[in-house]
Symmetry: none
Subunit: 232 residues, 2 copies
Amino acid sequence: MTGTATSDTRVRLIDAAADLIAAAPGEDFSLRAVCDAVGVKMPTLYHFFGSKQGLIDAVVERGFDLYLGEKAAMESSGDPIQDIRAGWDAHVAFGLANPGFYTLMYGKVRPGYSPAAQSRPSEILLALTTRAADQGRLVVAPEQAAAHVLVTNVGVTLRQIVLAAADPELSAAVREGTIAAITGTGAQPRNPLAAAVEIAAAHPDVLGRAETQLLVEWLTKLGEQSPAAPTA
Amino acid sequence: MTGTATSDTRVRLIDAAADLIAAAPGEDFSLRAVCDAVGVKMPTLYHFFGSKQGLIDAVVERGFDLYLGEKAAMESSGDPIQDIRAGWDAHVAFGLANPGFYTLMYGKVRPGYSPAAQSRPSEILLALTTRAADQGRLVVAPEQAAAHVLVTNVGVTLRQIVLAAADPELSAAVREGTIAAITGTGAQPRNPLAAAVEIAAAHPDVLGRAETQLLVEWLTKLGEQSPAAPTA
DNA sequence: TTACCGGATGTAGCAGTGCTATATGAATCA
DNA sequence: TGATTCATATAGCACTGCTACATCCGGTAA
């Protein structure tokens, strides 16, 4: 508790574990290897963390500290949507730079449990979407918008980690697609016939399936043969 | 090779492993537990699969077989975008129904490696985006569109698995956001349905008088009852 | 028939794992 | 000083993935 030299061993154990995890992200690691790296025996580790999961939790906590530290260093642009963009990119960058930490923080897929510390950045995101909603710039509830952003942001980050290759183009595309979805600001205005096709296809229950299919067929034919509506 | 009763043990081992994995998705499982369930000793398992990873690979392969089996049972609507929607929902449904299989298929985050069988459904998706692109309905390359859909689809599925709760609203929101992003059909400054009505009415010769009239009727109904029809 | 051979399975045991009961040194405090 | 508490070590348990070796059993060839 006092943070004197006694807790130094604890910190060194966490660091050693983080190093081992970073050396093989997603893989398992040995507690004995951690202890050897620190020059200590297993009961010492168990004295501090109680279990392997306890050590992992401590590493995860440290990961979120690191992540939030970077996040805190960013200054707000004043525009919540712009801040969401910056937060998105920071999230992806952190994941690619620290795949060991990131896979523990967001990459463990065990039904029913996710690290409690996930709520910390999630609340920051929710604050941003709430501000955006207050400014009337969202077409969905701030909670839904935050969930939407989180899901796609994590998804695109994990994908880049498993592919072992940064894909800024994909990240940007998904980011803008997500922002467009929650703000309702689509891309450029485009062929209204094509847009009508999408609307009809998105709601096949309104007209019925057969009618919708025929409608789509007609609209497509209209788009091909009508000089007023060139297909882009 | 002959597929006689000899290979029955192999299949039963895979089934037993799949059951154990399904019982604790994302968790590790013991080879001895698999052997006990089948009533066989470890060397038998190693005779067939060579290693634990070999068994896991076989289970993953079986998972993709199952998934593609369900996918093959779906009939195409004729509209590639609509097929992408159906494929999206099928993907999420499979993941939620088979979290054990799914976490092995798409939930393992190890940099540099992902199951080779992932390419099978990916190619189906790419075929759909390619068809959509041929119809001039995409604003990005088919490969990028497929990557975008895959990333968000997997992301939203994994999220629902870790939350241990289906969230059809979130899935639909991300799905439509993704489709809007690749088709370029976001919210329009002007109602595209109304614009489509004008175009159709201006070219009654393309479809014929009766069809055009019916088309206009449908588009109007769609505009009245579709909640996604942009109003602002 | 007899001998053989290869695939399938069992016995026994390796090294390594997470974890723990117990003990010892050192520091703190009454 | 004596007592208590924290940090660390020794030793070992139960379990893991994995494997060298031996055994059975069915088909094939002489």
